[in-house]
C-alpha cells in the first residue's frame, strides 16, 4: 500500500507543477468584412429588383473609399450640402478601413502616408485643415504634429537570425552587393532631382524617355542596369509587393521607380524618409473625412445600378440591413468605385482588362510581443526573404512607457498564382488556415508566437488593389478610364493604376470641383 501510494504521489506531483501543457486549442477570432459575400450577391443577381422608394438629391457618391470621401469633403466645403455617400461595408474607408479592440486600434489596409511632396497640393491643404501640419518653418517646410510622425525606430529587418535596424539589408553584404545598393540609390536620387516621378502621378514628366520605362517590368529594368544581386532584388521586390501587390517581375518599371523617386516630401521636424502613421493606420484620415458628413454617409449599401437618363442620374441601391431597394435621383453622380465593379453596374461602360492583387491581412492580438535577438521592435517589422510583408506594430505610436499587450498587423499579398485562381482558393480557406499561414509567415523571427496570440482576425481582400502591370499606367486603357461623362463622374485610385492615398484623395478633390461646376 505504501509503495504504490508513494509512487502515485510522486508521479502526479510533477505534472501539477509543470503547469499547463502545450496549447492545442484554436485561436479565437474570425474572418471579418462583408465584401466577398455581399459583392458576390450583386454579381450573381439575375435581374434588378424594383425600388421601393425614390430619394431626390443633388449628388450621389457611390463608394466611400478615400476618393469618394475626399470628393464629399470638398463638395461640403464648397457649399454643396445635398448629397449622399454610399458604401458596401459597415464602415466607410475603402482600403483604409480600421478596427479596434481593448488593446489597440489597428488598420485593415493602408497604414501610412509618406510625407507629401511639393506636387501634392491637395493633400497638403487637407493636412493643414485637420491640424496635421501645424505651421511652416523659415524655409517653408511643413511642421508636422509629432504624434503622427512615425516614432523611431521605424523599421527593422530580420536577417541571418537577428533583427537589424532599417529595411535595406546590411548584415553580410559583399562589397559588390553594397555597390549595387549604392548605384540603385544614386539612380533614384537622380530621378528625384529631375522631378520626373511625382505624387500624384499625373503631374509627372511626360518625357518619352521616362514613359518608356512603363513597358518593362522592374526586374527587366534592373537587369538592364546590371543589378543582379539577391539582397537588392529582394528589397525592390518587397517594396513593389507592398505598394502594388505584385513582385518586381510583375509590375512595370515606371511604377517600381516611382515608389522610390516620388518620396520627396520634406518636413521641418522630421527627416526625409519619415512617414505619417497612426495606430489605426490611414483609418485616422478616414475618421477626419467622415466626421463632417454625418447622416449623408450610408453604409451597408450596395449600388446595383447607375445610369443616366436625360441629365438625371438614377442610382439603385440595396440597403443590406433593411433589404430595401432605394432609387436615388440626382443631378450628378460620382462613381468612386473600383473599376471592375463600375463596369458591372454602369451600362455602356467599356470593360477594360485589369489585374487586382489579392491580399490577406491578419490582426493578431498578443499578450506581449515575444523578445527576439537583435534590435527592439520597430513600427514596421520585416523578415528578409520571408513569404509575407512582415507586420506592423499597432501600439508603436503609443506614448505609454511600457507597451505590453499589442496588436500586430500581418500583411501578405498573394501574388504567386494568377489572381482569379487565388481568389477561388481563398474562398475555401478557413479561419484556422489563415491563422496557421500568418504564424508560419512569422515563424523565422518568432517561433513561439502562437503562445502569445489571444485573438486573430482576418480580412480578405479578394480585389485588394489595382496592379500596375507593364504598359498599364501610360497605356491607352488607363487614358480611357480618365474620361469623365457628365453627369456621371469618376474618381478612384484605379484611374492612377496605383492604390495610394494621395492618388485617391487628389482625384476626389479635383472631381468635386468638376461636379460643382457642372451643377452650376
Amino acid at each position: 500500500m505504501n509503495r504504490r501510494r508513494f509512487l502515485q504521489a510522486t508521479a502526479t506531483a510533477p505534472a501539477l507543477l509543470t503547469g499547463s501543457c502545450t496549447r492545442q486549442q484554436t485561436i479565437p477570432g474570425s474572418i471579418v468584412g462583408a465584401a466577398a459575400s455581399v459583392g458576390h450577391h450583386l454579381r450573381d443577381l439575375k435581374h434588378l429588383p424594383t425600388p421601393s422608394r425614390t430619394v431626390k438629391t443633388d449628388v450621389v457618391i457611390a463608394g466611400g473609399g478615400i476618393a469618394g470621401l475626399a470628393a464629399a469633403h470638398q463638395l461640403q466645403k464648397q457649399g454643396v450640402e445635398n448629397f449622399v455617400v454610399l458604401d458596401l461595408e459597415s464602415q466607410a474607408g475603402g482600403n483604409s478601413i480600421s478596427g479596434s479592440n481593448k488593446v489597440s486600434a489597428y488598420p485593415w489596409g493602408a497604414h501610412y502616408v509618406p510625407l507629401p511632396g511639393r506636387d501634392c497640393h491637395e493633400v497638403i491643404a487637407f493636412f493643414e485643415e485637420i491640424g496635421l501640419i501645424q505651421g511652416h518653418d523659415a524655409a517653408g517646410r511643413p511642421i508636422y504634429d509629432e504624434l503622427a510622425l512615425c516614432h523611431d525606430p521605424h523599421e527593422r529587418l530580420f536577417i541571418h537570425g537577428q533583427w537589424e535596424a532599417g529595411l535595406q539589408p546590411l548584415t553580410g553584404l559583399t562589397p559588390r552587393e553594397k555597390q549595387e545598393f549604392d548605384a540603385f540609390d544614386a539612380a533614384i536620387r537622380d530621378f528625384q532631382d529631375k522631378r520626373a516621378f511625382t505624387l500624384p502621378l499625373e503631374r509627372s514628366s511626360r518625357d518619352p524617355a521616362f514613359l518608356e520605362l512603363d513597358r518593362l517590368t522592374m526586374a527587366a529594368w534592373m537587369k538592364q542596369q546590371g543589378w543582379t544581386c539577391t539582397p537588392l532584388h529582394w528589397y525592390v521586390d518587397y517594396c513593389c509587393r507592398d505598394d502594388f501587390g505584385g513582385g518586381l517581375d510583375q509590375v512595370s518599371a515606371w511604377a517600381g521607380i516611382h515608389y522610390f523617386a516620388s518620396r520627396s516630401g520634406d518636413a521641418a521636424n522630421a527627416t526625409r524618409g519619415t512617414v505619417l502613421t497612426w495606430p489605426e493606420g490611414n483609418g485616422y484620415l478616414v475618421k477626419q473625412l467622415v466626421k463632417p458628413l454625418r447622416e449623408r454617409l450610408h453604409t451597408s449599401c450596395i449600388v446595383l445600378h447607375l445610369q443616366t437618363e436625360r441629365d438625371i442620374v438614377f442610382t439603385d441601391v440595396l440597403e443590406v440591413t433593411t433589404e430595401e431597394v432605394i432609387r436615388y435621383e440626382s443631378r450628378a453622380a460620382l462613381c468612386a468605385l473600383p473599376r471592375f465593379i463600375a463596369q458591372r453596374i454602369i451600362p455602356g461602360l467599356k470593360p477594360i482588362p485589369l489585374s487586382y492583387a489579392p491580399w490577406v491581412v491578419t490582426n493578431l492580438t498578443l499578450d506581449e510581443l515575444p523578445p527576439s535577438a537583435g534590435v527592439l521592435p520597430a513600427w514596421d517589422n520585416v523578415i528578409y526573404q520571408g513569404p509575407s510583408l512582415g507586420y506592423i506594430n499597432a501600439t508603436h505610436q503609443d506614448l505609454a512607457a511600457v507597451p505590453q499587450a499589442t496588436v500586430v498587423t500581418h500583411y501578405e499579398v498573394l501574388c504567386d498564382q494568377p489572381p482569379l485562381q487565388t481568389r477561388q482558393w481563398m474562398q475555401n480557406q478557413t479561419h484556422a488556415d489563415w491563422c496557421t499561414r500568418a504564424l508560419k509567415g512569422l515563424q523565422a523571427a518568432h517561433p513561439d508566437l502562437e503562445e502569445h496570440v489571444t485573438q486573430a482576425d482576418v480580412w480578405l481582400w479578394g480585389h485588394g488593389m489595382i496592379r500596375p502591370d507593364p504598359g498599364f499606367i501610360w497605356g491607352a486603357d488607363r487614358q480611357q478610364m480618365l474620361q469623365q461623362t457628365p453627369p456621371i463622374f469618376y474618381a478612384h485610385s484605379d484611374m492612377s493604376g496605383m492604390s495610394l492615398f494621395e492618388e485617391a484623395y487628389t482625384r476626389g478633390v479635383l472631381v468635386a470641383d468638376a461636379i460643382r461646376t457642372w451643377l452650376a
Binding site: 504521489a9 509629432e146 516614432h151 521636424n269 527627416t271 512607457a401 511600457v402
Partner: protein, 498 residues
C-alpha cells in the same frame, strides 16, 4: 534486513550535510544583511552547536516509538531548514531587529539536528556491535560535514543561490525521512499520518524550489558588486537592492539609481539650485523619483504646500514607503502629509488636467531605451509646459556630461527647442561620476538662492561652481530629440559604447 542499518547510516551522512548547509546559509545571510562576517559566523556557529547540545540533552525525554519520532523530526528539520533562507530574506526588510528571528531559527534547527543523532544511536542499538556503531555514526557525521563545506561555496551559492539551496537540502532531509519510512515500515505504527506529513513537506519544498528564484537568480550574485538583499521583478522593471556594510544601493534593471553613501550629493544638486531660487513655489511636481529621495529634499522648504510624485511603478513607491531601512534613507518622505504619490505613466498623466505647478523635478532613469527616450522628447516637454505656471521652472536629470557628453547636450538642445532658457550644471557624485542637470524656465530665474539648513553638499560657494563646465564637458552641437528620431537614445547608446 542487512541493508537497513547501512541505509540508516547513510541518513546520518545526509543529516550532517544538511545540518551544516543550513548553518552556513544562516551565517552567509547574516553577514550579508548585518555585515561583519567574522562576528556573524562565529555567533551563528556558536549558537548552532549550543542548540545541538540542547537537542541532544532533550533526546533523553523521547520515549515511545523512536523511529516514528526520528522521522517526524526529520520532516520538521526539512521544513524549517528548507524554508529558512526564504523566511530570513522576507523578514529582513520588515523587522527592526533581525537578530531575534535569525538566532531563533538557527537555534531551532540546531536543536532538532542535535536530537537526531542520539535518536539514531538508540534506534541502531542492537543492530551493530557498540564500538562499531559509535565509530560509524560519528565518522559519517563528520564526513558529511566536509561535503557540505565544499559544496556550499563552490556549487550551491553561485549556481543555486541561498534560497534554492535551502529548499534543495530540505528535500534531501525529506527524502531521508521517506526512505526511513519505507525501510522500517514494519516497525512504525500510524504509518499513514507520517506519509501525509512527509508528502506535504515535500510538496511545499518543491513549490518553494520552483518559485524561489525571486531573490537569488542565476548569476545575479555575479552581476552586482555587492550582495543582493532584495530583488523584485515588477511588470515595469527589475528592482534590486544590494548592501555592503552600511552602503545600500538601488539598481533598476541593473542600472545604479543611488548609493546611500553619496545620494545626498545627487539629490541636493537636483533640487536646491532650482528650488532655492523660487521664493513663491508652493506646488512641486516630481516625475519619477519613486525612491522619495528628491521629495525628502523638497520637504526641507516649509513654504512648499504640496508635492505630487508621479512614478510608473507602484512596487517601487510601495517599497520605499514601507521598508524600514529605506524609510530611514528617504526620511519617510513618501508618507509625509504634503506628499501625494500617484502611480501612472508620466506621458499619459500629463495629458490630464492639473493645477499648475511651480517647480518640476524630472528624475527619470537614463534614456537607455526607446520607451524612456520618449520622456525626453520635445513633445513631452511641450505637454509638461502646459501644466506649469508662467514663472515656473523645471530641472531634468540629464546623465553624465563626462561619459555621455552628446546625450547631455542633446537634452539641453531639446529643452531650448521648446522655447526654454536653460542653465546646465553638474556635480560630482562618486558612485556615478560627474553627473549633469539642466534647469530650464521660460524666463531666466532671478533672485538670490535661499538655501535651507542642514545640507551636506550644496552651499553658496558650491552653487557658484556647479554651472561651470571644463573644456572636456563643454557644450557641443547636437540634434533635437524628437519622437520620430529618438536622437537621444542613439547618442546615449553611442556614448556608453565607447
Amino acid at each position: 534486513m542487512n541493508a537497513r542499518p547501512w541505509l540508516l547510516l547513510l541518513s546520518v551522512f545526509a543529516i550532517a550535510t544538511c545540518g551544516l548547509v543550513y548553518e552556513l546559509i544562516a551565517g552567509t545571510l547574516a553577514s550579508y544583511l548585518l555585515g561583519d562576517s567574522i562576528t556573524q559566523f562565529s555567533t551563528i556557529i556558536g549558537v548552532y552547536l549550543f542548540a545541538m547540545g540542547v537537542g541532544s540533552y532533550l533526546s533523553r525525554f523521547v520515549t515511545g516509538n523512536l523511529i516514528s519520532t526520528f522521522i517526524r523530526v526529520e520532516f520538521l528539520i526539512a521544513l524549517l531548514g528548507g524554508c529558512s533562507a526564504s523566511i530570513l530574506f522576507l523578514i529582513f526588510g520588515w523587522t527592526v531587529s533581525f537578530r531575534i528571528p535569525l538566532y531563533s531559527i538557527v537555534f531551532l534547527i540546531g536543536c532538532f539536528v542535535g536530537l537526531e543523532i542520539p535518536l539514531l544511536l538508540r534506534i541502531l542499538e542492537g543492530r551493530f556491535v557498540f564500538k562499531d556503531l559509535v565509530s560509524n555514526v560519528f565518522s559519517f557525521d563528520y564526513i558529511g560535514a566536509l561535503l557540505a563545506s565544499l559544496l556550499f561555496p563552490l556549487v550551491l551559492v553561485p549556481h543555486l543561490g541561498l534560497v534554492r539551496s535551502a529548499f534543495l537540502f530540505g528535500l534531501i532531509n525529506t527524502a531521508v525521512g521517506i526512505l526511513a519510512l519505507i525501510m522500517l515500515r514494519s516497525e512504525i505504527p500510524r504509518l499513514r499520518s507520517l506519509w501525509i506529513t512527509g508528502l506535504s513537506v515535500a510538496a511545499i519544498l518543491i513549490a518553494g524550489f520552483v518559485n524561489g528564484s525571486e531573490i537569488t537568480r542565476w548569476g545575479e550574485y555575479a552581476a552586482f558588486p555587492d550582495p543582493v538583499i532584495y530583488a523584485e521583478s515588477t511588470p515595469y522593471q527589475r528592482l534590486v537592492l544590494t548592501k555592503r556594510k552600511d552602503e545600500l544601493r538601488l539598481y533598476l534593471n541593473s542600472n545604479l539609481q543611488f548609493s546611500s553613501k553619496d545620494e545626498y550629493r545627487y539629490h541636493e544638486s537636483l533640487v536646491h539650485p532650482g528650488l532655492s531660487r523660487l521664493p513663491v513655489a508652493r506646488r512641486v511636481l516630481i516625475l519619477g523619483g519613486g525612491d522619495g529621495l528628491a521629495a525628502r529634499e523638497v520637504l526641507r522648504y516649509p513654504r512648499v504646500e504640496s508635492i505630487t510624485l508621479v512614478d510608473l511603478d507602484p512596487a517601487m513607491t510601495e517599497l520605499f514607503s514601507s521598508n524600514a531601512m529605506l524609510r530611514e534613507q528617504n526620511g519617510d518622505a513618501l508618507k509625509s502629509p504634503r506628499v501625494k504619490v500617484e502611480n501612472a505613466d508620466a506621458f499619459a498623466w500629463l495629458a490630464e488636467k492639473h493645477e499648475p505647478f511651480d517647480f518640476v523635478i524630472i528624475d527619470f532613469p537614463d534614456p537607455s531605451n526607446f520607451s524612456l527616450g520618449k520622456l525626453y522628447s520635445t513633445t513631452f516637454y511641450q505637454r509638461l509646459l502646459k501644466i506649469m505656471a508662467p514663472n515656473a521652472a523645471l530641472v531634468v536629470q540629464s546623465t553624465s556630461p563626462f561619459v555621455a557628453r552628446q546625450s547631455f547636450w542633446c537634452v539641453d538642445a531639446t529643452l531650448r527647442a521648446c522655447g526654454l532658457q536653460t542653465e546646465p550644471y553638474h556635480a560630482l557624485v562618486p558612485s556615478f561620476g560627474e553627473w549633469g542637470f539642466i534647469l530650464a524656465s521660460r524666463q531666466p530665474l532671478s533672485g538670490p538662492a535661499i538655501l535651507p539648513e542642514g545640507l551636506k553638499f550644496v552651499n553658496e560657494e558650491v552653487l557658484a561652481q556647479l554651472p561651470r563646465f571644463p573644456p572636456d564637458m563643454a557644450r557641443i552641437e547636437t540634434e533635437i530629440n524628437r519622437l520620430n528620431n529618438q536622437a537621444l537614445v542613439h547618442y546615449f547608446e553611442e556614448d556608453w559604447a565607447r
